[in-house]
Chain length 138, copies 2
DNA sequence: CTAGGTGCAAACTCTTTGCAGCTGA
DNA sequence: TCAGCTGCAAAGAGTTTGCACCTAG
């Protein structure tokens, strides 16, 4: 990859990623989505723009975009990975146990504590996963 | 379940969990393990004590023990859930990306920050998942 | 033109389940 | 005794892959 987080078609092409109809459709779906869709959802939506898109291409494209830093894969509890564009600031997720809605948040203080803890244990953190599962307070 | 976190055979029996040879073998494996084994590892080890244990029984028993609060299921990155006895204090995990070794840690400060963030977003946290992925610092 | 991408369908991994026989309390 | 447990094998869900054809650059 030429550099971290390539997001435009131009960046991707510079990374040797060929821009096909199918990939444009999938990128479009990801740009429009605000709900962390699953592979199956992405397939359904991409087919509205280009009915020829196949499941295999969705998975292959998501894998390529993930390597390129364009897409982030989330494996929340429950079946199936959920995807989002990685072009925003890093954030963690709060999952509503009643509705499945995903709320994004970011806490520099937690991140710093994580780094401190890892350092105490003799490690450098490469990435982390923080997910809160809860319900709306009454 | 009669109460939270039942761990002895007696507690389990009080919860209506029948104590069979197979379940004893699986419990034994979990008690001896210090490495967060996968279902397949648990099967292999349990068979050393009781060769009749089947894969189906391992999965069914782990599900029962999880409901009883005896076992905690972890779904780290990479394929397959990894299990541990839930009889120790709550903790999070740091996974060594080079060796796969899992280091446990606990940070009351992070937990408190999580609760504060959730409260700001209008949520009560039911559970959370925090995993750090890193490498030994040089 | 041709390296790389695609659809299709089969294969894979991990986990769950139907069923008929077995067993702990 | 008999409700609950078990092994076996088949089924599921989600994801990956082999292959022959297609296409972006």
């Amino acid at each position: 990859m030429s550099n971290a987080n390539t997001h435009s078609e131009l960046d991707l092409r510079a990374d040797g990623v060929r821009i096909t109809r199918q990939r444009l459709a999938i990128l479009h779906v990801l740009r429009e989505a605000s709900d962390h869709p699953r592979a199956e959802d992405i397939l359904t939506r991409a087919r509205q723009q280009d009915p020829s898109v196949s499941q295999a291409t969705v998975y292959r494209t998501l894998a390529i975009l993930e390597k390129a830093g364009t897409v982030q894969r989330n494996e929340f509890d429950g079946a199936g990975a959920r995807f989002e564009l990685a072009d925003r600031q890093h954030h963690d997720h709060l999952i509503d146990l009643d509705t499945g809605v995903v709320v994004e948040f970011h806490s520099p203080r937690i991140e710093q504590l994580q780094a401190e803890i890892a350092a105490e244990l003799g490690y450098d953190i490469e990435r982390h996963r923080l997910e809160l599962y809860g319900r709306k307070s009454t």
